[in-house]
Amino acid sequence: MRDPETRATPRLRPYIRLIALIGVIVPKALRRDWRQEWEAELRYRELLLADWDALDWRHKLDLFVRAFGAFWDALRLQPKRMEDEMFQDVRYGIRMALKNPGFTAVLVLTLGLGIGANAALFSVVNGVLLNPLPYPNSDQLVTLHQSKPNFETGAMPYPNFLDLQRENQTFSAMAISRGYGFTLIGAGEPERVNARLVTADFFSVLEIKPEQGRTFAPDEDQPGAAPQVVISHRLWQRKFGSSVDVLEKDVILDDKSYSVIGVLPSSFGLLRDVDVYVPIDQWRSPALQSRSAALGLHGIGRLKPGATIEQAEQDLNRIMAGLAIAYPATNKGNGAKLISLKARMVGGVQQILVMLLCAVGFVLLIACVNVSNLLLARSTARTREFAIRRALGAGRMRLVRQSLTESILLAVAGGALGLAIAGWGTRAALSLLPTALPRAEEVGLDARVLAFTIGISLITGILSGLAPAFKTSQRHVSEMLKEGGRAVIGRGVRAQGVLVAVEMALALVLLIGAGLMIRSLNALWRVDPGFRSENVLAFQLDLSPSMRSASPAAIRNTLRQLNDNIANTPGVRGVSFSAGALPLVNEDDLFYWIEGQPRPATQSEMKMALIYGVEPGYLTAMGIPLKRGRFFTEQDDERAPRVAVIDEAFAEKNFANDDPIGKRIYVGDDDPPLQIVGVVGHVRQWSLGSDDALSLQSQLYVPFRSMSDSEIRVSGIGVVVRTEGLSKGNIESIREAVQRQSGENVISAVQTMNQVISDTLARQRFSMILLGGFASVSLLLASIGIYGVISYLVGQRKHELGIRVALGAGRGDIFRLVISHGMRMAICGIGLGVLAALGLTRLMSQMLFGVHPTDPPTFAVIALVLLVVALAACYLPARRAMKLDPLEAIRTE
């Protein structure tokens, strides 16, 4: 519309300023007409009434209200903005993408991989680290331990717990529990089930609502209460076929009948492998009432609203101090330790996950660089197109926006693909290594993962589009048109070279990280655990329930008979029952003092040793060497003089300059001392990697058969067997041998010691596999990147190369020229990467074992690998350049 002549004053009218302001959001193409229409109406109305200064306030207000309506009008016009330029850009971008489907597919796939890997890992981080635990007000939940001078998170004796529960002022509820095992009889085959002995408010602390029935009432953990059990969802499905009348049923656990009062929801994942929950007072162990026996009891508590962990710990330590005065023999030196439940569950993996998230971020960066490079190459090919658009009046920003729109479109498509990859990849990774992660069942795609994916897709789109976008906008139209389709070897290629070097550097950092993890894992595998793990089976044995009422002599007889049965099974080399600790599987310890030294006044001043109750066949079965003296014989039973065997660490600690054989040690207040008859090799009890870091290293062996009548047991007996070779048949013939004695004997938790060792390394393997995967992807992307750039370069330099050949350059010269160009980029990248890796690998030093973060061989080998890959990637384009026909190459220009 024509510009109307307007007096100066109306411009200052407030309503006109309002219209001008609202006009900002009106699409540009419509803005002028839109403003004039509104201004004209308002001005006309004003003139009709009177001049502004003469208007009364009501009319002024009316004009204002009308002017405000323009806002809705402007909003109504917003879709036009879309049709306007952005839509054009998007439509154009889609057309361009479809015109070149192969190119587009490569880009989308690259971005999809990068974004997918990030989304997958973020969904793990989100589920494990970021999301709160799936319990109401879960930040109030803490785990409760008794701290000893050398061990912060020790178990808590039941009477101490009861005192804390009664006297604390900072908890709204508190419960304690311990693991246990039952033989479950009643529904189908007898079966060994993992159980948890709990105080009545265990479930109410967590505020868990059962799926069926109820959980325990407050008084149901008292002595004399009727035996009741709460079962897991899994057991309900497996044993009761998810039947609704489960609540009217009874199950027999060991020798007692329990009525089922509740079924937990399937989402309850705190104790994944526990199937039955029983009130703790059903467990008639006299040790439960002792302040010196911790029995593996650990507490869980809910803080009062507003109370902090520090306050609560102070509160409990005040009570513990009182207990130390009241019961110095058992409690002196002990305190209380609280850890938030979430930290306790995920503490070990936080560092690994953060490292992996960084690694996967690198992969995405590499993908960005790659896409950026490809787009850069194409933008050079599109120079003429952009030049014509510039010449026809498109602004520089318009072209930048066009480029960015195209790369964002690609990234959004990549993001959609990535989300699919993530959904599949997360499930695959977790099912591959289910034990590696806590809270694995809570990992999934949720709104936050979705937001993250959309966010990184957009950022990826912008990042990978920036370089090509600004390259197109920088140059002058005339220059661009002059060059036409042919680019000058200059700025563009240099930018690509830099990007390739960066890409190589990123890949190198990832590869070195993965290399270091592989070397750590290798070093861990090579650690000597102190026993020979190959061909060793470990399992649990529960005697027929009828043995519970048998006499100790009968039980001893049965055990002997079973031992003989297994030992005589073909293929069995050695067998031993075990009680107490088992390397890498179970832990058990006791206090001791040496005869001749003063008896320490309190427990906390006594020394501790790991305790293994084993049979004569143990050394053969486990492959532990005897160093001095003798091991146990058939004669070391309940009637023989009490003997013990120690390991080298025990000997070193107590008898450094002395012969331990013949020395005597006390392990209990009233028991006669044990005489040391032999020394065996030290075994790694805790783990392959961090064993030396733990203070409890001394190991004490006592004869399994010397157990007193009160200690003798009929369930949960450990068995280790060495065989000539492990096979299904082997395990079956051992099971047969056990059941020949009684069909009701149950074998459970069968595992090979090799499996046990590999399970302890599950986390390291999990991170190594993922890091290795990321590194491989990055290597692939980087080699595609360098191949792409060199190929492109050869294409662009055809003319020049042709002239060189025409002027007499040999084919070898051309080959070397191209290769050296590629190698320059690669070497720059490798140098950059080595510097970055020197800084970054230090951050993962805690995850490494037996290898230094700047391990020179790893660095050297990886750098070499990358160099070779770069060379291979340059080889094909270099050969193509070599075969160039000079005449043709010159003519094409």
Binding site: T6, E39, E41, L42, L47, F68, G69, W72, D73, L77
Partner: protein, 111 residues
């Protein structure tokens, strides 16, 4: 957009107002009592669906008054049909807007 069947009541009222020679946005607001935030978006919709067409008044008139030229709206042929259709549905519509007394409002000049 369906030209006959999907007219809302306010759109019908606005068509009727234009038909009765209330051709400017603010005049339509005055006669219909609808706020500007309703009238203008409705006018844009009606224009998009081809029921009304807009024109600028002659420059000279505006210049004489020292103000920008105003935009006015007219019914198209489809607009007239749609209004006839709407009048069957909203019987009171016709009486709602008296024809413009020619003395008060200047007849817009086509330009």
């Amino acid at each position: 957009m369906g030209k006959k069947s999907y007219l809302s009541h306010s759109e019908s009222v606005i068509l009727q107002a234009i038909a009765s020679s209330y051709k400017y946005g603010f005049d339509i607001m005055d006669i219909t009592g609808l706020p500007s935030g309703t009238v203008y978006p409705a006018l844009r919709r009606l224009e998009e669906s081809g029921l009304v067409a807009s024109r600028w008044e002659k420059e000279g008139v505006a210049q004489r008054d020292g103000r920008p030229a105003r935009k006015y709206y007219e019914l198209t042929r489809e607009g007239k049909e749609a209004l006839a259709e709407a009048l069957k549905r909203y019987r009171l519509l016709e009486g709602l807007t008296p024809r413009v007394p020619q003395t008060v409002k200047p007849t817009p000049q086509r330009g």
